[in-house]
């Protein structure tokens, strides 16, 4: 795919135009990424009341049973979409899957530890912790390197 960025000082609103002969899976993925790259707020519920949480305050999303929760330093809030939807929506941001049931925010990762039984654990802000699957470690490491270098 050819990517072209045109600089125009007179441009008032940034726009993205995709020129293609047909809408392929790749095109759809790019469109989704662009649409979700601007997500700032997440609608969530807790104790039957609605809350709007800024994406930066979310440490990780986790699935428990059929429900998905967004964990902040203070509390966990139930969110609407399935975990894979959050993963897809936020992959352009600082979020990455760390196990089958957790999508975590790289920005809030503080340290990694290995337990005696060989489980790998990642600690987040507020000393919240989650297990990280060994099969995701390499991807997390690569994203961390990129994130620390380029900020995403």
């Amino acid at each position: 795919m050819k990517i072209e960025v045109k600089l125009d000082e007179r441009c008032e609103e940034t726009s993205v135009l995709i020129r293609c002969s047909e809408v392929t899976d790749e095109i759809q993925r790019v469109v989704r990424l662009l649409q979700h790259s601007s997500i700032e707020w997440v609608e969530a519920k807790r104790n039957q009341s609605s809350h709007i949480i800024h994406i930066k305050h979310i440490l990780y999303f986790y699935a428990e049973g059929q429900k998905v929760f967004a964990q902040t330093i203070e509390d966990a809030y139930e969110v609407k979409d399935r975990l894979h939807v959050w993963e897809e929506m936020l992959q352009a941001r600082s979020f990455i899957r760390i196990s089958k049931s957790v999508v975590a925010n790289l920005e809030h990762m503080k340290r990694f530890e290995m337990m005696f039984n060989g489980n790998l654990v990642v600690f987040f802000s507020g000393d919240k912790k989650e297990y990280i699957s060994r099969s995701y470690v390499q991807t997390v490491k690569q994203r961390l390197v990129g994130y620390r270098k380029g900020g995403q």
């Binding site: 196990s99 089958k100 290995m114 337990m115 039984n117 060989g118 699957s133 099969s135 470690v137 620390r148």
Partner: protein, 136 residues
């Protein structure tokens, strides 16, 4: 998952056959002038194929993400050790005396311990690298 188990069983059997061939070849080279009997060959093939069929899918327990490394290793040991002992005795490779059993148990535990420590070291290094990245 069933497909993966089946694939591992087939790979294990093929690998077992190959190991049996190598064992036979080495035996022929070392048994100067003696013939390898049909019974010996049959037992050798059967033993290695059974071991391959068990060993192949057994390693899948290391792919169960929600299990800890310790649980994966212990489960693997619990599958592998009895099947190895059973095949060994069934094929007449060794007699099941208390001494033989204990020595095999010791060798197995020692091997698993070394592998466990190796894997543990590998992951500790990985964790250290990742913590270094976080601290940059």
């Amino acid at each position: 998952m069933t497909r993966i188990i089946f694939q591992r069983v087939v790979f294990g059997a093929v690998f077992g056959l190959a190991a049996a061939m190598i064992h036979t070849f080495i035996s022929i080279q070392t048994m100067e002038g003696q013939l390898v009997s049909y019974d010996w060959l049959n037992r050798c093939m059967r033993g290695y194929v059974i071991l391959g069929v068990v060993f192949g899918p057994a390693s899948l327990c290391f792919r169960i993400d929600k299990w800890s490394l310790l649980r994966q290793t212990i489960t693997h040991f619990v599958i592998i050790f009895p099947s190895y002992i059973a095949v060994n005795v069934m094929n007449g490779w060794s007699k099941l005396t208390g001494e033989a059993f204990l020595s095999m148990l010791f060798i197995f535990i020692a091997s698993y311990l070394v592998i466990w420590l190796g894997i543990n070291f590998y992951w500790r290094m990985k964790i250290k690298q990742m913590n270094n990245i976080l601290q940059r």
